[in-house]
């Protein structure tokens, strides 16, 4: 009788990369559903285009790099990247904008660095940052959430806009995001109470947007509960952001937005639970994760408040990605039977 010669262990756990990625996708559903509720076909078209481009590029790069296509295509990592980019980009983004973002994400940030597991930067955020700095106009035109608008955009109009360019009167439908509105108003020296009085704002942050953030939070908590992600990154990121916002808000509540506004605006929740938690580009030690995510929270507040962009999750994540090797090296846990600190 011939027996297998493989070495121990002979048993393995149930989880694999694709099941982890699938659970991340499930957790993205509530937030995405709320976005679709408010932005209709525009968000759906983002999603479909991003996923199609991502899978095509992934397949193309795997083939060029002569890597096995099937195991890597079925790991869903490209779908997660595409999904995160699609929900971060303005609804009704033109096809070429999405394509460029996906090329930066999949080709440059992921495969040119060696593919899954080898990318030092978060691919979705590289793609996002690339199109944000290259096409600031297109990237900051968010349509007003449907609730606010009397005009309903159907599938045909969406396709025309996405593939053929702007239809007439399209600009009228756009509205500044809450973060943008606050930033612009503050730069005009208006007190925050005036801005809040415009009726665009709900209990926590911008109307519609606060619901999107709550839905991301819900999905994120589910990921925590399923132990797909650890507590360190979301807690440190949101904690630092809230702490910074609280300090300045307590100093001057008219010139600095409240911590709740910061937590429930822009990509804070999406970033804390879905983007910064990308294991490949994040710090890998428990303590390192706290510093890594704390740094993202800090930079996000700084750029949002004093920088040139209304939101800053993408830039903050990329900045902190660069610090990861250093963080990992200096935050090693104490090994059994040793004193704290590095050996040799």
């Amino acid at each position: 009788m011939i027996f297998s010669k493989r070495t121990s262990p002979y048993v393995s756990g149930k989880q694999d990369v694709s099941s982890i990625m699938r659970q991340v996708l499930y957790a993205l559903i509530p937030g995405t559903a709320v976005l679709i509720w408010y932005f209709g076909w525009g968000m759906l078209s983002n999603l479909v285009l991003a996923i199609v481009f991502a899978e095509l590029l992934e397949w193309g790069m795997l083939t060029l790099r002569q890597r096995p296509v099937r195991p890597f295509l079925s790991d869903y990592s490209a779908v997660v990247t595409a999904w995160l980019l699609a929900v971060a980009m303005p609804a009704f983004s033109p096809w070429w904008l999405i394509a460029i973002a996906m090329i930066f994400a999949i080709v440059i940030a992921k495969h040119l660095y060696g593919g899954l597991g080898y990318n030092p930067f978060n691919p979705a955020m590289v793609g996002y940052a690339a199109v944000l700095v290259s096409y600031p106009v297109q990237m900051t035109i968010w349509p007003a959430p449907v609730d606010f608008s009397v005009v309903h955009i159907d599938l045909g109009q969406t396709l025309q806009h996405v593939f053929a360019g702007s239809a007439q009167g399209w600009d009228a439908l756009s509205a500044a995001t809450p973060l943008d509105a606050v930033k612009v108003s503050l730069s005009l020296n208006k007190p925050l109470s005036d801005i809040y009085a415009t009726g665009q704002f709900g209990l926590l942050a911008g109307q519609a947007w606060e619901w999107v953030s709550l839905a991301w939070l819900l999905g994120g908590l589910w990921l925590l509960w399923q132990r797909i992600i650890g507590w360190q990154i979301p807690v440190a990121l949101l904690g630092t952001l809230a702490l910074m916002a609280s300090v300045f808000w307590l100093i001057d509540a008219q010139a600095y937005a409240s911590p709740l506004f910061h937590l429930f605006s822009g990509a804070a929740m999406l970033g804390a639970f879905f983007i910064a938690t990308d294991p490949v580009s994040a710090s890998t030690t428990p303590t390192g994760k706290l510093f890594y995510a704390g740094g993202i929270g800090l930079f996000t507040y700084i750029i949002r408040t004093w920088g040139g962009y209304p939101d800053a999750i993408a830039f903050s994540v990329i900045i902190m990605n660069m610090a990861v090797p250093l963080l990992d090296y200096y935050t090693q846990p104490r090994v059994y039977g040793t004193k704290r600190g590095l050996q040799g």
Partner: protein, 522 residues
């Protein structure tokens, strides 16, 4: 529910696994008919091979010494039954390399005759000097029976400068499937505890902690009852939470005492000695009954075997024989391993015999996940969460794979106990432990090569220096001789010349004086 007042400490990491203990732990241990042929490998312990004391054709009695332990780190072997030594030759043994090694082949005569091969019994060991008992444990060929096979007598050889405060008995049996210690603790608790008392006498300690995972309530109850029976207050039976790998020596010591064995050190350096219940029982039998270690409890289990069970068999029994008496293989039998599914050694053939280390024969199928190729590491850190040594397996993997061994050592590669937790949880199905085994082996090879090179260089330098010194000394000696010879000859000549000159002068002076006198007198 069994209550304990003993405080327990928590280790980092660990896993809850599918234990499959009930597959084999229900029925009492079985004794099988003697195999046709026993294969007794010479090397059954960590250390050096003992010296053969028999040759092919010899008749041996049960318990008779067949290889002796004179020398460092050697453990003797004894005939598991009476019969004839038919050959001493290379046979496949249970080793990860799959290579063969020297074995004594014994053909049983069926009489199972001890004759007078039993050693002198000490029915009352507490009256006997500890060192004599320790020598007996050595002579009985007892090694750690939990799998590490470290010579028990050496472990019990404690030095006066570090007093041993605690004896830890490792009844955790944390690996899935294995139940032989469970059965042993249920069936022979008094023998185990009497062995424990002997050990406590030898190492002069007043405290013994017996840790047993709480998934073995019957074993805990049996051990506690036996403790009551012996009335020994120094011994505590402590149920510990079931969590793999709590049965790893270092981890169990932390759980029971809160102390950590220093990296690279032995438990004795923190005043602890740790032994397995089967070792304790073997010590009892060696001391009180005078019987050497010639058989053991082991589990035959897994999906690939029809009737999983526990057996007590003579050492040297071929695995094939065990399987045949456990209902044979099932169609699921695709893998044969000695030990559990987390740390066992895979065997390529069932011709391999039971040795002192064999606690389990696991016949299993091959799960589907194993056929999948490994994906790249996504640095998710699940391995670090599971690691009982609190290592960063993802970093160790990275550096081992890159052959950056210095970095791997900086990340404490040698504190890895190869428990397999990291590989179990890895979502990319990377065979992490293999990378660590590889890196450790490479580093050891490099160290050996370096040591050898250093020795060779030192010898060469010394040789060179010696040659030069000899040359120098010779030259010096020669120069000295020459100089000496020269001075002596020179001096001689000079003196001779001087003497001649002086003689001439004196003559001249005499002549002159005569002339002058003559002239004046004339």
């Amino acid at each position: 529910m069994i209550q304990t007042l003993h405080k327990l400490w928590r280790n980092h990491g660990g896993l809850h696994l599918d234990y499959h203990k009930e597959d084999s732990n229900a029925a009492p241990v079985r004794h099988l008919p003697m195999a046709e042929e026993l294969i007794i490998p010479l090397q059954q312990h960590s250390g050096y091979k003992p010296t053969l004391t028999v040759k092919a054709g010899d008749y041996v009695y049960k318990g008779q010494e067949i290889a002796s332990h004179t020398g460092f780190m050697k453990v003797p072997l004894h005939a598991s039954t009476s019969g004839t030594i038919t050959a001493i030759e290379e046979r496949p043994i249970a080793h990860p390399s799959g290579l063969s090694d020297l074995c004594i082949i014994l053909k049983p005569d069926g009489k199972d005759d001890w004759d007078n091969a039993r050693m002198l019994a000490y029915p009352n060991p507490s009256q006997v000097d500890g060192e004599i008992l320790r020598q007996r444990i050595c002579a009985a060929g007892i090694v750690g029976m939990g799998g590490a096979v470290f010579p028990a007598a050496i472990k019990l050889n404690v030095h006066d400068n570090i007093p041993i405060e605690t004896l830890v008995i490792n009844g955790a049996e944390c690996e899935p499937y294995i139940t032989c210690d469970d059965r042993l603790m249920r069936e022979k608790p008094v023998e185990i505890l009497r062995g424990v008392q002997i050990m406590m006498h030898i190492i002069a300690t007043q405290r013994c902690l017996i840790g047993i995972e709480d998934n073995k309530p019957e074993a805990i109850a049996a051990m506690q009852a036996a403790r009551e029976e012996l009335g020994d207050q120094r011994i505590e039976i402590i149920p510990i939470p079931t969590l793999y790998p709590s049965g790893s020596e270092k981890q169990l010591i932390k759980i029971l005492t809160g102390k950590e064995v220093p990296s690279g050190g032995r438990p004795a350096t923190i005043g602890i000695v740790c032994h397995n219940p089967a070792t304790a029982r073997a010590i009892y039998r060696a001391v009180v009954l005078g019987e050497p270690l010639i058989d053991r409890y082991l589990t035959i289990t897994g999906k690939g075997v029809a009737q999983p069970c526990n057996v007590e068999v003579p050492l040297g029994t071929p695995i094939q024989h065990l399987i045949a008496h456990s209902g044979g293989y099932t169609p699921a039998a695709k893998r044969l391993a000695m030990g559990g599914p987390m740390m066992g050694i895979s065997l390529h053939t069932d011709q391999i015999p039971v040795v002192k280390a064999t606690n389990c024969i696991l016949v299993s199928d091959i799960p589907e996940s194993e056929q999948q190729p490994a994906l790249p590491c996504i640095r998710c850190g699940r391995c670090a969460e599971a690691c009982p040594a609190n290592l960063l397996p993802q970093q160790l993997y990275w550096h081992s794979r890159a052959r950056d061994f210095d970095k791997a050592e900086q990340y404490h590669l040698f504190d890895c106990i190869e428990c397999g937790c990291c590989a179990y949880v890895c979502p990319s199905h990377i065979r992490l432990v293999d990378y660590y085994r590889f890196a450790k082996a490479e580093i050891r090879t490099q160290r050996d090569a370096k040591t050898k090179a250093n020795i060779a260089r030192e010898r060469h330098d010394f040789h060179q220096e010696r040659l030069e010194r000899a040359k120098r000394e010779k030259a010096e000696k020669l120069a000295k001789h020459k100089a000496q010879a020269q001075t002596t000859t020179d001096d001689g000549k000079k003196a001779a010349i001087q003497a001649a000159l002086e003689r001439a002068k004196a003559k001249k002076a005499e002549a002159a004086a005569q002339t002058t006198t003559g002239e004046t007198t004339e």
